[in-house]
């Protein structure tokens, strides 16, 4: 009887409390551009609660009814806004924050401090939101601003070879990263064999790197999520920006179609490497281009539609006229060959998104995505022609709901379906070569990847918050159905307003993999799904972290330790032939991997001096029964230490300086340590057979590099703003080893040498905005 009374009292109290609160919801936007302000902070100062906007700039929270409230809205890079309001009923307010103009203004400082505190108080860990403004200032190869290269400077992210776009996150492989552009998967991240990323910085609004503690709405890859969101287009006035660098030019135009209602953005980039190298006598008949476009339309206060698209291609076309052989004085014979060789490869993505508010507490997003990656390789010679084509194409739909149940409880749930179509190795030949290589339509494979998820964030107390969820993923392939439960859990304990402990556990499944030799990742590598024989890869990861904000120093310190166990990882049999091989499953091996590490990040996002110091101590091993004679071996990009210093310093409004210094333990290498001679099997000749160390047993020399960039800006008060970037990559010209050669020395002996790919490269770039 006593228990029943308590329950009744609790229900009545709950009802009364409910009756005493109202819901404040709406969108937060940048006043100048109309862009959604993602993960902005909202604090009710005299009520002790707060929230943040979601990935679409929407917020919803409960406040006491009929009370005078002081609500503060803040976002890094914007001036904070404080409202004093009294609400008697549920209210929708769409607010705009002015961009910050002075670093010392009180409203800007408040935004910076709130941002730091929010990061500490956030349940998410292993997640880094890098400010695009910082990335645009840091030095880069050839003056090309590159967000992937910036991500590679973060702790926990190991790069592949020098200059490459490959990311090896927390001991994972390069194909274990889910890279999304407006929620569509991007399969190939690099242009020019990976030296430049496919993301045009002018078109990007926001990017988040998640290395662990994955929210349940993400899945499909083991190691990381890089969620890149394009700008929506300025719905206030027409603007443009662009730039000219050593290797490319770019231009972005944006403006309202209907003010406050609809806007567009279009952005393009093209290289002229072919022209530049041509002027110094080097024939390089290659170029790449990108095109981003987006339209958004606010149909009603409750409905918004976004349509975005990306196209990008790399094109190489070598013909007898441009192959450079003529310069060696043999033009007649060259012309006789009639050589024509080249390739065209690229991505395209399209996304249609519909945001709908059912009621102030229920927000939904529907995304329809299409993505394709394909390449064509062609050759014509002496009456023969060959065309090799491969393609992967995804059609996906994703529905997400966010239910703001109360200030203590937010629920997310949704589902996703993706149809993957793979058509590799379509071969068309003509002439004598068709005797050796017959025509093929490739083996079309389609798989369906499904996922349903639910995720909640709940405040157990003012200090203790948990976020948990379950993602149930599955894929249907011929004669087999794989299902993978993926539990996720994160917890945060607030020591005080400025420091917290965090922990997380997550399991991820991956239903597709890149078919590639592990030595070199090529843009022509194929993606393939799991099959009757090939099981999905999975990973379990735990992480523990401590975060401390120093608001006066505008600095955040984060320390995280992680351990990861990976199963059914993919490698290929020794000597596997993957080129034009439709039956590569026979060459595939599955094994285990482990990774452990400790990461330190000291980050400063505001003030004259911004940037970060990142340090990683890590280990990554692999274990395959049929590789390395069954012995465990180090992962290729197992790097014990990695230290990066990234600094931007604003001397004056018109002059800034930026520098990167990084130190990394060398990548691992399987070195030749001996050789022997034997007759070949036909007994017609002698073969020299190399003898190698255990797989990846040798570590190349550590490398370090300094890059500098000076920024000189024009008058910033004018509508047309411009800036010059004068930079240098690898200013002290030290080699970053990427391979080991045996080199003949002056005394006639041989030694192992480690060449570097890029030495000192000066750069100049001109950027403008209007």
């Amino acid at each position: 009887m006593f228990k029943v009374k308590i329950i009744i009292i609790a229900l009545i109290s709950s009802f009364l409390m409910k009756a005493q609160t109202v819901v404040l919801s709406g969108y937060l936007q940048d006043a100048a551009s109309g862009e959604a302000l993602i993960y902005a902070n909202i604090l009710v100062n005299n009520y002790g609660s707060g929230t943040s906007t979601n990935e679409y700039g929407y917020f919803s929270f409960e406040v006491p009814a009929n009370q005078k409230l002081r609500i503060q809205f803040s976002h890094l890079g914007s001036q904070s806004l404080e409202l004093e309001i009294r609400l008697s009923q549920d209210s929708i307010v769409n607010l705009k924050l002015e961009p910050s103009t002075s670093e010392l203004s009180e409203v800007t400082v408040t935004a910076e401090q709130n941002n730091l505190v929010q990061q500490v108080q956030d349940t998410r860990m292993s997640t880094i939101n890098v400010q695009l403004a910082q990335i645009q200032n840091i030095p880069s190869l050839g003056g090309e601003v590159d967000i992937i290269k910036a991500m590679q400077l973060l702790p926990g992210v190991s790069k592949g070879g020098e200059g490459s776009s490959g990311m090896f996150v927390r001991g994972g492989d390069a194909d274990q990263n889910l890279v999304l552009l407006d929620e569509a998967t991007v399969y190939n991240l690099g242009h020019l064999f990976g030296f430049f990323s496919v993301f045009n910085p002018d078109a990007i609004n926001d990017l988040v790197m998640i290395k662990g503690a994955f929210p349940a709405n993400y899945g499909g890859r083991l190691s990381a999520v890089l969620d890149v969101r394009m700008k929506e287009g300025n719905d206030q006035e027409f603007h443009g920006q662009g730039g000219v660098s050593l290797l490319s030019s770019r231009l972005m135009l944006e403006g309202p179609l209907v003010k406050d209602k609809a806007s567009f953005l279009i952005s393009g980039r093209r290289t002229y490497i072919d022209q530049v190298f041509g002027l110094v006598g080097i024939s390089l008949p290659y170029y790449f281009y990108d095109l981003n476009a987006k339209v958004n339309w606010k149909i009603s206060p409750k409905d918004r539609i976004f349509i975005s698209s990306y196209f990008g291609d790399d094109v190489l076309n070598i013909s007898t006229d441009s192959a450079g052989v003529e310069e060696e004085g043999d033009s007649a014979s060259t012309a006789g060959f009639g050589l024509d060789f080249g390739f065209q490869l690229g991505n395209m993505t399209q996304t249609v998104r519909w945001n709908h508010i059912y009621n102030p507490k229920l927000f939904s997003n529907l995304s329809l995505t299409h993505t394709a990656f394909r390449y064509n390789i062609f050759g014509n010679f002496i009456g023969n022609s060959i065309l090799i084509r491969s393609e992967i194409r995804d059609l996906g739909a994703k529905m997400d709901f966010t239910k703001y149940q109360s200030n203590n409880l937010t629920l997310k749930y949704g589902g996703q379906v993706i149809n993957h179509s793979f058509r590799p190795n379509i071969i068309s030949t003509q002439g004598e070569i068709s005797q050796a290589l017959s025509n093929s339509q490739g083996r079309l494979q389609s798989t369906l990847e499904l996922a349903a998820y639910t995720d909640f964030a709940y405040d157990l107390s003012q200090r203790f918050r948990i976020q948990g969820g379950l993602r149930l993923s599955a894929t249907a392939v011929k004669n087999r159905f794989f299902i993978g439960p993926e539990p996720r859990l994160s917890a945060r304990y607030l020591i005080n307003d400025e420091s917290s402990f965090k922990m997380s556990y997550s399991r991820m499944y991956q239903y597709m993999h890149r078919v590639s030799s592990s030595s070199v990742a090529l843009p022509t590598d194929l993606w393939y799904p799991v099959s009757e024989k090939v099981k999905p890869q999975s990973a379990d990861q735990i992480a523990l972290g401590f975060e401390k904000a120093f608001p006066d120093l505008k600095t955040l310190v984060s320390v995280e330790a992680y351990a990861k166990w990976m199963n059914n990882l993919i490698e290929y049999r020794e000597g596997a032939n993957l080129i034009l091989n439709d039956n590569f499953e026979e060459q595939l091996l599955q094994g285990r991997g482990t990774a452990q590490g400790l990461e330190l990040l000291v980050k400063r996002d505001a003030g004259r001096l911004t940037g970060w110091i990142g340090y990683t101590l890590s280990w990554a091993r692999r274990d395959f029964d049929e590789l390395n004679e069954g012995r465990s071996f180090w992962a290729k990009y197992d790097r014990r230490h990695y230290l990066s210093l990234v600094a931007n310093y604003e001397f004056t409004k018109r002059f800034a300086f930026s520098a990167i210094w990084e130190y990394t333990t060398g990548a691992r290498f399987t070195a030749q340590i001996g050789q022997y001679i034997v007759p070949n099997p036909s007994l017609t000749d002698i073969d020299i057979i190399p003898v190698y160390t255990d797989r990846n047993a040798v570590q190349m020399s550590p490398s370090h590099r300094l890059d500098l960039n000076f920024i000189i800006r024009g008058n910033r008060d004018k509508r047309f703003k411009s800036e010059w970037h004068l930079g240098g990559y690898n200013v002290y010209n030290r080699a970053t080893p990427y391979r080991i050669n045996v080199e003949l020395m002056e005394d006639g002996s041989y030694q192992y040498s480690q060449p570097g790919l890029f030495g000192f490269i000066p750069s100049i770039a001109y950027n403008f905005k209007f």
């Binding site: 050593l246 030019s249 596997a576 001996g674 050789q675 022997y676 080699a735 080893p737 490269i761």
Partner: protein, 298 residues
């Protein structure tokens, strides 16, 4: 074919020139040097049966990766790696025969009894006190069921198709087929002994490695191999077939896949398997069976 306006016409030449100058100012870094411990020298074994009953064993030793045998004009390295004065014996069917050193690390056994299905054990010990051993089974000689060249004479080339069929032996089997052509016009010099004994890299046309998994359900295997650029008047094509062991087949498959320059560039390097206990190389006994065809006759 689409025609584009040359990009250089619509872009200021001055900036391209500046960019080109900066490209010229770019530097290439000096390589860094690293020390890697070298492999301890090991005895290397290879073998060949020369029909009808000669066994040839070649012995050498492995050497440092920092020695360049290809530029060894004086022959110093070759002299160092040839294994001389080794004791070589072969045990089989309750007998033991010693092999005789003939020249340059070659050891020969001439009265070796060929007992198909018997296990032969090779033992080698050298003057440095190193010893290795290996064993293999002598496999039966096999022949083609049918084999013939089909010659297609085109204005620009002569295409030769070698069409053959063979029947599977009992049990699990693996086969090696080698193709050779003559280099000189003298047909008389193109013999089994010359092919196997003297080396003829220019005349080597290719190898097929076949597992009986690839045979049709009726136990037969039909295939053709196409060759271009053979002289239709003087070319003679020789084809050998041998029944080889599974481990030797796997070793050859690995060498075929990993040995080409493309694989060496893009694939992980690998260590080839060996059946020599304590050493390197491969000890195998198989009988090659030869057929010869003069192209002008077809």
């Amino acid at each position: 074919m689409k025609k584009f306006i040359p990009f250089s016409l619509c872009f200021p030449k001055a900036f391209l020139g500046l960019a080109a100058m900066l490209v010229l100012f770019s530097c290439r870094p000096e390589p860094l040097f690293i020390s890697v411990p070298q492999l301890e020298s090991k005895i290397v074994v290879s073998s060949q049966v020369i029909p009808p009953n000669v066994l040839l064993i070649s012995l050498s030793q492995s050497f440092s990766a920092l020695q360049n045998v290809e530029d060894d004009s004086t022959g110093d390295i070759l002299n160092q790696i040839i294994l001389k004065n080794a004791a070589v014996s072969l045990s089989y069917d309750g007998k033991e025969d010693s092999l005789i050193e003939i020249d340059n690390g070659f050891y020969i056994g001439v009265d070796i009894e060929a007992i198909v299905g018997s296990t032969y054990q090779l033992k080698v010990s050298d003057s440095l006190g190193r010893s290795v051993s290996a064993q293999t089974v002598l496999l039966p000689e096999v022949t083609f069921d049918s084999i013939q060249p089909v010659v297609e004479r085109l204005p620009e080339d002569t295409i030769v198709r070698i069409q053959y069929s063979l029947s599977d032996q009992s049990g699990a089997n693996w086969y090696m087929i080698n193709y050779y052509s003559n280099v000189s016009n003298e047909d008389s010099s193109f013999t089994v002994g010359n092919i196997l004994g003297q080396g003829n890299p220019e005349g080597y046309l290719g190898t097929d490695l076949i597992s009986d998994q690839e045979f049709a359900p009726d136990g037969t295997f039909r295939n053709e191999r196409v060759f271009f650029n053979l002289d239709e008047d003087s070319a003679v094509v020789a084809i050998s077939i041998a029944n080889i062991s599974e481990e030797y087949y796997n070793y050859l498959i690995l060498r075929e896949r990993a040995g080409n320059i493309f694989s060496q560039i893009i694939s992980e390097p690998i260590n080839y398997p060996t059946n020599v206990d304590g050493g390197l190389g491969f000890f195998t006994l198989h009988y090659p069976s030869f057929r010869f065809f003069a192209i002008r006759d077809y």
